[in-house]
């Protein structure tokens, strides 16, 4: 009755690209209440339908899109969709959460998730129009950018279609290729490359069914109250004017943890012009929002020369900016646009380019080997390397494999400079001075990732939710904190609510869920579901071969931060071990990181972890 009366699409769509057909299956109440939606459905379906031992580019891998539970309602900032797969970058759990409208469109078409398996015979795109499913020829779209692909598909199918597409990076199996939808990305862990391996260039979705809620009047009242709260919250002004990079100066001057020049420094001296306080008034035409969000942090950025994009986000100001030593916003924005058009994750792209520059400066790669001079601070070199990677030209063919595989290929001392966790290039938090986040990089199911815990704000300010007085320079008592935050954020990804709203809603979703599906959930109930979801992602990794020794930090994190307010801070081997032990204990897992039997039973996920 909750699925029936509530805001669920009500069905799961299975696409078999080998046969070119789709099948549907209804979801029931017990499943919905156990996993909620979004990330919860993803965690279940990945474990159920992907054999963890397969090669990520095998046709047997799946790509799963799920709409959040609240996606498609009027709940503000609750319009997210998520994509899941087995990652070609980490060989483990892959997910990307995005504000593109594909989740919303799937809901209107009557689906909560779509599960795509198999491999097309030639480059194709998938059309989902309410109950119809068709696979069409896309050979004419080969080599096109994500933007052109979406435009061309809309020309043929209709302007009302929502299109998710890959660019040339996905087609070329760049291991950190992304999927674009509405100029927003399912960015990390290479799901775009999995799409490329399936010869799937795009997915076009149209749905025109009603999305209802169990208690519409209550939902409307909640919307009104929350809207007021959101537009009067200080973050409304900050995000509105400067976007996600608003705190860039603070991260440098006040916290000293803005990773710079391939994680050599925690303060970027040449940062003034990549600071949104400089560029937003000069380059931004207007705000850009995800669907369902009255608090837009996106920016319509128009380059002085040629180009436009939704950005530049904080993470990219780091990855293509400080991490490459580039302080020129025009170059960073151009690089950002190219990554979006080629369909490549900006964080991993900047990670691997910063790494290349570090090797060049330290004499481990020559101009001959790279094809160009690649000094820190050279914006042209950064852009040139983006092109080489996307097209797998020259050294780009190695860099397209990601930092980990590239470092193995380069050999010699190259591994000492390689910054990744389980193959994933880390985001913009120099965790040498944010020790809880160092742990979170190790425990995130998709490799070095800030979003599964989003504990950076808690660590950097010392307080959030039930935590206060947290010391970012201490490695003590971080296990429970990170586990709690991971469970907390898994709830957000299951509901489809934006993480930038976490300070507004906390876990106070009882009334919203009661209005949405007719069943409220207390904070503890939600945290249990979050814990279930996190454990399922971890179980998938275990089945894919994860061992405790894989969750380790790069050598560079052992070198003290050289200057700034976090000067001298680093993560020792002992601290790494202490934090992991503490975390596994807090999770109810053994010292080897394997969940204990009673934990599996408590979470009722025995079907995925046999004795």
């Amino acid at each position: 009755m909750y699925v029936e009366r509530g805001c669920y699409g009500g069905k799961i769509l299975f696409i078999d690209l080998n046969k070119g057909e789709g099948k549907r299956q209804a979801i029931g109440d017990s499943f919905a209440l156990k996993y909620l939606g979004g990330d919860g459905f993803g965690a279940y379906f990945v474990n159920k339908y992907i054999d963890a031992s397969i090669e990520p580019f095998s046709p047997d891998n799946a790509i799963i899109f799920s709409a959040g539970l609240l996606t498609g309602t009027i709940f503000p900032t609750g319009g997210k969709a998520a994509a899941f797969s087995k990652s070609p970058l980490t060989n483990g759990w892959a997910e990307g959460v995005s504000g593109g409208r594909i989740g919303f469109a799937l809901k209107q078409a009557g689906y909560d998730s779509v599960i795509i398996r198999g491999k097309a015979k030639k480059l194709s795109y998938l059309v989902i129009k309410n109950d119809e499913v068709v696979i069409k020829d896309a050979t004419h779209l080969s080599g096109m950018t994500t933007r052109q692909t979406a435009e061309e598909i809309k020309k043929d199918e209709g302007n009302e279609f929502v299109v998710a597409s890959i660019g040339i990076a996905g087609e070329k199996l760049v291991r950190f290729a992304s999927i674009d939808c509405d100029e927003r990305q399912f960015g990390r862990a290479g799901i775009g490359a999995v799409m490329g391996s399936k010869l799937l260039k795009g997915i076009a979705v149209y749905g025109d069914k009603d999305i209802k809620v169990a208690k519409p009047e209550k939902m409307y009242k909640l919307f009104e109250d929350y809207y007021e709260k959101i537009v009067t919250h200080p973050s409304f002004q900050d995000d509105g004017k400067y976007g996600t990079g608003e705190f860039l100066e603070w991260m440098n001057a006040e916290r000293g943890t803005f990773p710079t020049k391939n994680w050599s420094e925690g303060v970027f001296d040449n940062r003034d012009k990549i600071n949104p306080y400089y560029w937003a008034p000069r380059y931004v035409l207007k705000n850009k929002a995800c669907i369902q969000c009255p608090k837009p942090c996106g920016k319509a950025f128009v380059l002085k020369g040629d180009g436009m994009l939704d950005g530049v986000e904080y993470e990219t100001l780091f990855s293509l900016g400080s991490n490459c030593g580039v302080g020129d916003i025009e170059a960073v924005a151009k690089g950002n646009e190219l990554c979006d058009l080629y369909g490549m994750d900006t964080i991993s792209t900047g990670g691997v380019i910063g790494y290349t520059m570090d090797l060049y400066e330290n004499g481990l790669l020559s101009k001959n080997e790279i094809g160009i001079e690649a000094r820190f601070g050279d914006g042209d070199a950064m852009i040139e390397l983006i092109k080489k990677i996307a097209k797998r030209e020259g050294i780009g063919n190695i860099l397209a494999e990601g930092v980990k595989r590239a470092s193995e290929k380069f050999g010699k001392d190259a591994e000492k400079y390689a910054v990744h966790v389980r193959g994933m290039e880390p985001p913009a938090y120099d965790v040498r001075g944010i020790k809880g986040m160092a742990l979170a990089f190790m425990t995130s199911p998709r490799g070095a990732c800030h979003l599964r815990s989003a504990a950076y704000a808690l660590e950097l300010t010392g307080k959030f939710w039930k935590y206060e007085g947290v010391d970012r320079f201490s490695s003590k008592n971080k296990g429970k904190e990170i586990a709690d935050m991971e469970n907390f954020m898994a709830v957000y990804d299951a509901l489809g609510v934006c993480k930038f709203s976490r300070g507004i809603f906390l876990l106070d979703f009882y009334d919203a869920l009661d209005a949405a599906i007719g069943r409220g959930f207390t904070e503890n109930e939600l945290l249990l579901i979050g814990e279930r979801i996190h454990n399922l992602k971890h179980i998938f990794n275990i089945k894919a071969g994860w061992k405790r020794e894989h969750s380790k930090l790069p050598d560079k994190f052992r070198i003290p931060i050289p200057k700034g307010v976090a000067k001298g801070s680093y993560i020792s081997k002992e601290e790494e071990k202490e934090m992991l032990d503490d975390y596994f204990n807090a999770r109810g897992w053994g010292k080897d990181g394997i969940p204990k039997r009673n934990k599996i039973e408590e979470l009722e996920i025995e079907e995925f972890m046999q004795k």
């Binding site: 999305i211 995800c290 369902q292 009255p294 837009p296 436009m308």
Partner: protein
């Protein structure tokens, strides 16, 4: 009275579409909304909404063969649902792309009785109520 869109301010969040269909029909369905946002490119989001005769010549009323579109004493154009057969003539005639047929019924802005919800919940001031 009508709602004027300022596309330069529109963030493309589509909250207006959602509150419109929710307020009128208790569901979210952009195809039942009286306002539609066209996300044309990364820098262009175009709201389409009825001008109630201020920027058009009531082409929809003239086009309708079923007496299904009327205007009240204040000039507010509304759909008479009992009469509408979903023939698309109004949709084809409208120069502002502001009336749409979905499942055999036409949907358009009715100004919510003078206090439009879409304006109330447009956080970017991309919609303005114009008296006249």
């Amino acid at each position: 009275m009508y709602i004027k869109a300022i596309p330069e301010n529109c963030s493309g969040c589509m909250v207006c579409e959602e509150v419109c269909s929710m307020k009128h029909f208790n569901v979210v369905n952009r195809y039942k909304s009286g306002i539609r946002i066209e996300r044309k490119s990364v820098v262009e989001d175009l709201p389409h909404i009825c001008s109630h005769g201020n920027e058009c010549n009531y082409e929809c009323i003239a086009a309708c063969k079923f007496d299904a579109i009327k205007k009240d004493e204040k000039g507010i154009v509304y759909v008479v649902y009992e009469n509408c057969v979903g023939c698309h003539l109004c949709e084809l005639a409208c120069p502002l792309n502001a009336i749409h047929v979905h499942n055999k019924l036409a949907y358009k802005c009715d100004l919510c009785g003078g206090e439009p919800e879409c304006i109330k919940y447009c956080s970017q001031n991309a919609l303005q109520l114009v008296e006249g």
